[in-house]
Assembly symmetry: C2
Homo-oligomer: 383 residues x 2
């Protein structure tokens, strides 16, 4: 019992036992009808989850590998790209753009706020030669969700592609990939998809293919043209992580059985419970309600108390892991992930641990007040 652990970090997230069991399936060849059939099955399930009719590829890599595939296959040295940065993960697009020789227009927005879409419109009017806009659905470092639908509608009036990092969102936050005009969407397995890390998923629109076909970046392992060729027979260019594919298939079945609308509602209810609890405890939330992420909530530590001290007590005394702040937010905030295989009682655990850790740190907390607020949200039902 002493070792019982509660993962509330933004990846890896808890994996359901039946997905873990599925992954312990004996090996089978990947150049077989059996693999191809499973692969086809997974892709058709992903098309439902990601709401797209576009091509989908599953890469054996972390989500960053998927981001590199997106950047490397679209950027030709000298291309002008626009990266929209409102936190640490947005910066990754700029880094990748520079690696592949792009002229990067990096537009920074205040951390803790979303991308201002009017400003994006202005920039696109100003630079009519922007080839692609790189955005983040859910900025994990701050807990802010961006309005990708509006971005998509703005960008679709221009020749630019829209590339979206949806790594910590897809599967827990609704994304209408096709309807929102997302040309390339990237996600990873270990976040809201209820899977261990090791797979990235990437969608590619017809417009994106036109750009990719002209590209000749050196990248080999992440070459999407090779992936497209292999996928004609539901094959992969290089050996796939077979166990993780089997697990992903099982995880997608669970998501679709729950029903994606129920999944999205569940995430919002969990977010609301965390936010109400934080308010009840007198803590300051980083993101305002209208753009608060359904999968992760950033909370400021009370003044005079280090966020990392709270995290350390939580881990050592109660086995609960929260994420810390990154870069300028280090030791100032803690982040509670509520994505993937997470339910109401996981939030109760997190909030109760938080109350006790705050108390240990000398913060005047009325024990049970945060729990009361969370419970009220849950009793309101599936609002």
């Amino acid at each position: 019992m002493q070792n019982k652990e509660y993962l509330m970090i933004p990846g890896p997230t808890p994996v359901p036992q039946n997905v873990l069991n599925a992954m312990s399936h004996p090996m089978f060849g990947h150049r077989t009808p059996r693999f191809a059939e499973m692969h086809k099955d997974i892709i058709s399930k992903l098309q439902k989850v990601l709401q797209t009719r576009d091509d989908i590829f599953i890469l054996t890599s972390s989500g960053t590998g998927g981001m590199e595939a997106a950047a490397a296959n679209t950027i030709t040295p000298g291309d002008k790209i626009l990266t929209l940065v409102c936190g640490k993960f947005g910066e990754r697009w700029s880094e990748l753009g520079r690696r592949y020789g792009a002229e990067v227009i990096e537009e920074n927005f205040t951390w803790g706020k979303p991308v201002n879409t009017d400003r994006v419109k202005e920039l696109l009017n100003q630079h009519t030669d922007i080839k692609a806009v790189f955005a983040t659905l859910n900025e994990t470092s701050t807990g802010v969700i961006n309005d990708i639908e509006t971005l998509g509608s703005i960008i679709s009036d221009t020749p630019a592609l829209l590339v979206v990092d949806a790594i910590s969102g897809a599967g827990g936050i609704e994304v209408k990939t096709s309807d929102w005009n997302i040309d390339i969407l990237v996600t990873g397995s270990q976040k809201a998809m209820m899977m261990p890390p090791g797979l990235a998923v990437i969608t590619v629109s017809q417009d994106a293919w036109k750009v990719i076909e002209k590209n000749n970046s050196p990248c080999y392992y992440f070459d999407l043209l090779k992936a497209r060729k292999s996928s004609e027979k539901y094959n992969t260019p290089y050996t796939p992580a077979i166990s993780l594919f089997v697990g992903l298939n099982a995880a997608l079945d669970m998501l679709l059985e729950e029903g994606m609308n129920n999944v999205y509602t569940r995430h919002k209810v969990l977010r609301d419970a965390v936010r109400e609890a934080a308010n009840a405890l007198g803590l300051q939330l980083m993101a305002a309600a209208e753009y608060a992420s359904p999968t992760i909530t950033s909370i400021y530590a009370p003044s005079g108390i280090g966020a990392d001290d709270i995290r350390s007590t939580l881990k050592q005394e109660f086995g609960i892991s929260f994420a810390g702040g990154q870069a300028q937010l280090k030791n100032k905030i803690f982040r509670i992930a509520h994505m993937g295989y997470t339910g109401k009682m996981d939030i109760i655990t997190a909030i109760s641990g938080l109350e006790m850790a705050l108390s240990r740190a000398g913060y005047p907390v009325e024990l049970g007040l945060g729990i009361q607020a969370a419970e009220k949200v849950f009793l309101r039902g599936q609002k």
Copy 2:
């Protein structure tokens, strides 16, 4: 029972049940002392298996990702490299070299024979500006093992690096990475390492670092300088495939418990049994004994019988998978892998299936003769 399967292909290979079970461990964070400790443990075990004091990195990708890491981090456009090709996998080094802008001197040797090391010496004398030589330990497409020790001793007299693809060998064939002067060795998890696919392993020597430090290829996910920085704290730059790391740790324990010398002997005995059986059945082996791979054996189908017909009968009637021939060898040979979690009775299964499939194809086979030859090898003991 009808679905019982026998994998004799060169990856994925059978995975021991306790490794499969280990992988169904619940998730834990990768930015934790727990992960770091496991990571450190794995690296120290890999140093024993690969006989190296060099840095080791574990990448979440297939083996090809490891090969790309080796090529991308060492090649600067315009560099002259030498690739030694004696089969399909050797060709991959040339492709990677060209992608990264190298001037590739591709030296081809007859498929089914090893690289001629005297010829390599000549080429190195002729081109004193070769920056790196890319070789293959075990050419999986033909079942031939190359003399890396001699190559290493030749190349160590020159400024060139030696980069070795050991994907289908390491863990089943002895490789003395440091003593043989291998600067970069790449391997994958799903071959002799008794693991599912999804991890690549790469070693980097001090001489290799000098080259890598000056390199500025765009590659991001496979950036070895980033990997080195993270590894100071036994961390990884991007989220690792945690379940596969847990599995690799368990698989390495099994290898080290068996004892690497016993592991290498086991592979040679299995090879000898397959070869003796093929001889007894009147079949022609592709590789001569002195350079026959301990992990995979290529056998010509009898004239007039398609190798793929034999494979098809084996699969459909007996659940046994052999690999086929690639490129010019398609339908001419079949390949029996005997690597990783494979023992004597697996070879008996393979040979018995082969006898029956040959019989079905109308080849005059005395049933049991191949088995007799294999059994004789086994009865000779651990020779």
